[in-house]
Symmetry: C2
Subunit: 484 residues, 2 copies
Amino acid sequence: MSMLGLTIKKSEDFSEWYTQVVVKGDLIDYAPIKGFIVLKPYCYAIWEKIREIADKRFKETGHKNAFLPTLIPESLLSKEAEHFKGFQPEVFWVTHAGDRELGERLALRPTSETLAYEIFARWIRSYRDLPLKLNFWNTALRAEIKSTKPLIRNSEFLWQEGHTVHASMEEAEQECMLMLNIYREIIEEYLAIPVIAGYKSDKEKFVGALYTLTLEALMPDGKALQMGTSHNLGQNFSKAFNIKFLADDDKEYYAWQTSWGISWRLIGAMVMVHGDDKGLIIPPRVAPIQVVIVPIFYDKDREQVSAKAKSIYDMLSARFRVHLDDRDEYTPGYKFNEWELKGVPLRIELGSRDIREGKVTIARRDNSSKVKVNDDNTLTDYIESTLEDIQRNLYLRAKEFLDKHTFDAKSYEELKEYIESGFVRAYWCGSIECELKVKADVGADIRVIPFQEYRSSNNSNNSNNRCIYCNKEAYKLVYFAKAY
Amino acid sequence: MSMLGLTIKKSEDFSEWYTQVVVKGDLIDYAPIKGFIVLKPYCYAIWEKIREIADKRFKETGHKNAFLPTLIPESLLSKEAEHFKGFQPEVFWVTHAGDRELGERLALRPTSETLAYEIFARWIRSYRDLPLKLNFWNTALRAEIKSTKPLIRNSEFLWQEGHTVHASMEEAEQECMLMLNIYREIIEEYLAIPVIAGYKSDKEKFVGALYTLTLEALMPDGKALQMGTSHNLGQNFSKAFNIKFLADDDKEYYAWQTSWGISWRLIGAMVMVHGDDKGLIIPPRVAPIQVVIVPIFYDKDREQVSAKAKSIYDMLSARFRVHLDDRDEYTPGYKFNEWELKGVPLRIELGSRDIREGKVTIARRDNSSKVKVNDDNTLTDYIESTLEDIQRNLYLRAKEFLDKHTFDAKSYEELKEYIESGFVRAYWCGSIECELKVKADVGADIRVIPFQEYRSSNNSNNSNNRCIYCNKEAYKLVYFAKAY
């Protein structure tokens, strides 16, 4: 392995492996301010892919994009007291412009609820103005106090924030669930990461929300990662910001609202879940380069091999995102390592012997298999089906890991035993006291109260279930885990 | 005209007309901080269109997108002294995070040269790393001291900033010109605004650049507007930030750099140039809605007319951006005014009589003409060619205005006479003293030293040309104007 490669195994030191792979895999670099990162083009292309998929789904479901400024006056941010309290410790404050001190401090947007809703209050008069369904692609800025980790926890991150206003609670509930399902589709079908969907506990919900829906994934070190959240804000913000509408019964009501977001953290999760000791493995559907062609030539056959590689490149580019690596100054072995490090799903190798045989060699990144296949009009279909197979395989591998690392705890001792290894499913009485005590005791949170269990347990009359901590009657089966 | 319409004519009070049209045309709203605006979905959709066109051209010419943080440490921003001096009065400073005072003040990005180049210095080692051609879609933040105007001058604006690094001066020069030409293509062919291309004077160039190329347009009030700029930075920044590369002769050189940008100001220019007393006129190629269908029905024929309108909508949506306005609560007349205010290029009106005749009525926004055309398989082609005609017509109208308001001044008296009405072309000796005196005297700047005149005057031996101010020998024919 070249000097450029990873110097540590994923299983040896997961955290150090992650840091090496995001830097050496050409995804990120560190900015000159602690906690901030730069996205290199290769990583930004993955973000563009995620954005393209999400944006299409948002628009199909009637949302429109708009723009809000980065700065929020302090008076506005503090208008919903609980919300402000939640974000205040992380807020970056602008106090000066040039040499002039500002009359009021301006916050760098930690999230845009307050700014958006001050404006929505002016836009909404009657039921005809509803629903209002907007989305904003921007960055959020939150001064991280905890230790930071590239793409997972940074003081500025790329994300989207959706903000909708509705004429009824039912509509807000449906919207909240719809967006969670769209997130789930993006994460499972494109990033190949299985998730557990459900509610956050009151302690863990978004500050100011009625309830928060969440998608939780499991990382290889047994820690949970929150992948996307969708909040039903009820009328909490509409009352604070006076968002009222005249209904068709000629009466005025406070509106119902939702907000929801996903961020570049999804890329971090993708790296953690799929990567291996050779580097990144990027699922084909979001890979900036799906197929890399590496011609293997010597001085004598250079021209012939290059021409053939170029013709394969031309043929494949119509259907895939292909890169032809015809650099002279590096050996094929060097190139193999580099593209493996960067996680390109498929590599095509091509030498003069292959050309004589009418074959190309195809190497899969996910399982390191190599096959020779015919270089004829079946090649394109072969590549297409192989890319699909890689996509599926990555998901199934991750799903198997998730299933194997989800444990049912019948006792608090079992919870403590399993909690280092993954999700622990257990009954909970619903009290914040038990939740806080488990947190203090074993460092684990309630990550998600899953829909299925939530519903069945709510409907059941079975009161044999007992809280894992206090042993009192419990209706909710929840997922505990340590978390990023 | 409804209350929603404009209450002032473009010719009466251009500034007030502009303010009304951007607000009532549903483009922008004011944010709660002075100088900041919100883009409503209709305006953001225009920005998305411009971004899509530009992004495609950037990628075709070998540029890649990436991400840089919003915050720049003061020490970095001040590293190129002249550059810092230029931006310092406009910089927003972050001094606190939560309750903690920061060790060093952080600037909100007024532009990213300093941050990008600090990072590029780490990425570039040898000629193999060059050229490096990156682009960033983000916002710039500059506390405006002068009076602000929506989309034209705001304290935060959406833009893109390109930053490239090259192994030779020639390559940087070519890049700088290439990007200006791409901007010109976007502005003339998509936004239908004619521009004068050329150099900025040394006084007006970007702070820290060797030279700045610019595109200047003329607004209806006779003022010039800078539409896009492309800077050849030479080695000014590479020396300040130590960006060196090992060339193939095994020697180390400082790199050559460019930077270039366009912003949402282009939308402001589009509004000013094309709009009329009824509201916006959006060129078809960037219009979020190219065709609006307004069915005209009464209770008795509602079903028939609605069904027909829907079938036309379905047919046209395959090729155009179409909106069907089938709202019950507004009259056709109200709808006509609203879509005229919002500048939709074509309107299709459809009543039961039209259906009987097998016709639809098509109203053009640019010249208010109305024609009945056959509602058959020729309709799509008719609309396509009409949209093209509108696009062309808008450009030609603007070009005619530009030509009629470009004056040649043979004397300083003539310059003073014409300067309120548009561009004044005159010879200039090249001294900053004359430039400053004209500015102090009549409030006009040298907006652009056009390429053609620049070249021909540089090559000519004709020394009969005299500076419009000092009457000394002059080689450069320049465009003076008052400006936004």
